[in-house]
Amino acid sequence: MRMAYYPGCVAQGSGKELDMATRWVCRALGIELVEFPNFSCCGSGFVDEANEVLNVAINARNLAIAERAGLDVLTICSTCQGMLTLANVRLKDPAVKTRVAGALKPLGIEYRETVQVKHLLRVLTEDIGIPAVQAKVRRPLAGLKVGAFYGCHLLRPADEMAWESAEEPHAFEDLLAALGATPVYYRGRVMCCGFPIQFVKAETAVTIAGRQILDAKAHGAHAMATPCPLCHISLDAYQNHAAKAVRQPLDMPVFHLPQVVGLAFGASPEELGLSRHLVPTDAALAKLGAAAP
């Protein structure tokens, strides 16, 4: 299976461990990642708020790059997934399509809307399939209770994303169970991490993150796992601030989605970049009897 790999900004920068883990897992599953040095940022929802049509146009440009190569796009970020998908949806509006096509045409770019955008979670659970994933498990995550944290834009707005139930999703929990972990169901798993307002009003943002972590903890989670590196920043890198905001210790290890898959497939903590996390993952690894990073 070949896909156009869309790593997004964070996995090419401070979230490099997500990129490392993605490459490891895709290699293990025979997913060939085709790279395009001309992919731009998806706009992360911010460009959409500055200029809706511009946001569609920059993503139509990204999708056209994959289309020329005859490939569907693989994302590893809930927000990238949301923005690229939204471009495909909004292009169905003839007025938007005309303006976008008009901006792209002078650059010799035409997008014919044939590209499907799929997050790694969907590729693992639908295209590769749970049985094939399960067959690769060498070190089942037995004894580890994991709270999946989906990230808003992978699921919502529901009419546009439409690949999984936005209200009661289960793909991530199905995957965790296939890896041998015990999925934890809690209200916060489909809530917001607070990231979009981290730079607007930090105390509100970290309060939101803290509440979701507390919720996962109250339901018995030893660790959380997220398909979104922006959620990872909120839940991991800012967890110290979140703990202060909710006035409780949190100590919650937070994995990127391909890191939990990689762990179960037998990758080492170094190969998955676990030492780059702000909250140590040792306590969760100890549950598995794996060496701490």
């Binding site: 731009s40 708020e49 808003c152 009003k201």
Partner: protein, 324 residues
């Protein structure tokens, strides 16, 4: 033939401030058909099992907006939520009052926080004295102008969106989805003369606290899609006033960042949002992150074809939404 019945378990939030017991859940079991609305079940509980259960309702037809509550953690109208699917998904029906409003008793909340935020946006037409309504005409709007706010009049003020909103939950300053969707309706109304003032005043501790998580759009029983109206407001607010708040500076800075090199430059964006001086407040946390993730201060490479983004931007810059 009567339809098949199921045995449904209801765990209902109970709280009576006058009896000194803390809030608790009370279990009731009913035999009913799967398509029974949760509201009908609650009324049966009250009539047949427990006359002390308090709840708010009126029309039972998803018109009045009175019976919003949480059913299995989702804010929705009890009158249009059926018991069968809830039982299938959760094995029981947990019924709780709406969030983000103080509980008065059982499922009844004090809606004051919701209505206070609604009042804040001054939800009435403020006619422009320079453009009085033409005498003898009932309307001065074209169908196209009315179309711009065709969703918002559907709102029945049930407060399901207010209950579902994580920004409201964490920060009482945030006006909430319904108030902002209503504000949008006045900002795009061609009869209103205060659109500029409305867009300026909603920004501090207001508009920019929206997380664009779309939980309001999910909760809304009338498909008003508040998160999309809030997005429109943000675009119009920048057009009206430029980047004057952390929120708008972040949005404009982000756009500039992408148009410039194609990828996000995290350090540059933080500087654009906070200013060089304001950035000092980020130093301690920044260093903490940098120790583990040194790339956070690296300038990202320019993508191949970055100049294409600048040209796309030039072609579409004038598209940003103006108030009217």
């Amino acid at each position: 033939m009567s339809p098949e019945t199921i045995s449904a378990q209801f765990d209902v939030y109970r709280y009576d401030p006058s009896d000194g017991t803390p809030p608790h859940y009370q279990r009731y079991t009913l035999e009913l058909t799967p398509h029974t609305p949760v509201l009908t079940a609650l009324l049966r509980i009250r009539a047949e099992l427990d006359p002390t259960l308090s709840l708010r309702y009126s029309c039972r037809s998803a018109i009045c907006g009175s019976c919003a509550m949480q059913v299995n953690s989702k804010s929705r109208l009890a009158c249009e939520t059926h018991v069968g699917p809830e039982m299938e998904r959760h094995g029981r029906v947990v019924v709780e009052p709406m969030r983000n409003q103080p509980v008065l008793r059982d499922l009844v909340v004090d809606q004051a926080p919701f209505w206070t935020q609604y009042d804040r946006i001054e939800p009435h037409l403020k006619l422009d004295p320079a453009h009085p309504m033409p005498e003898g005409k009932t309307t001065m709007m074209t169908p196209e102008q009315v179309d711009r706010f065709k969703e918002t009049p559907r709102c029945i003020a049930c407060a399901a969106c207010f209950s579902a909103c994580p920004a409201v939950e964490a920060d009482p300053a945030f006006p909430g989805p319904m108030a902002l969707a209503k504000l949008y309706r006045f900002v795009v109304d061609p009869r209103d003369g205060a659109h500029q003032d409305r867009l300026v005043r909603i920004q501090p501790n207001g508009l920019w606290l929206c997380l664009r998580c779309h939980l309001c759009t999910e909760a809304c029983p009338k498909d008003v899609r508040p998160s999309e109206r809030i997005r429109d407001l943000k675009e119009m607010a920048i057009a009206a006033q430029g980047a004057t708040e952390n929120g708008s500076r972040h949005v404009v800075g982000f756009k500039d960042n992408i148009v410039d090199g194609g990828l996000l430059n995290e350090m540059k964006l933080v500087r654009q949002t906070y200013g060089t001086f304001g950035m000092l407040g980020q130093v301690v946390q920044g260093l903490r992150i940098w120790r583990k993730k040194p790339e956070v201060i690296h300038k990202p490479h320019k993508i191949q074809g970055a100049e294409e983004l600048a040209r796309i931007y030039d072609a579409l810059d004038t598209d940003a939404e103006a108030p009217k």
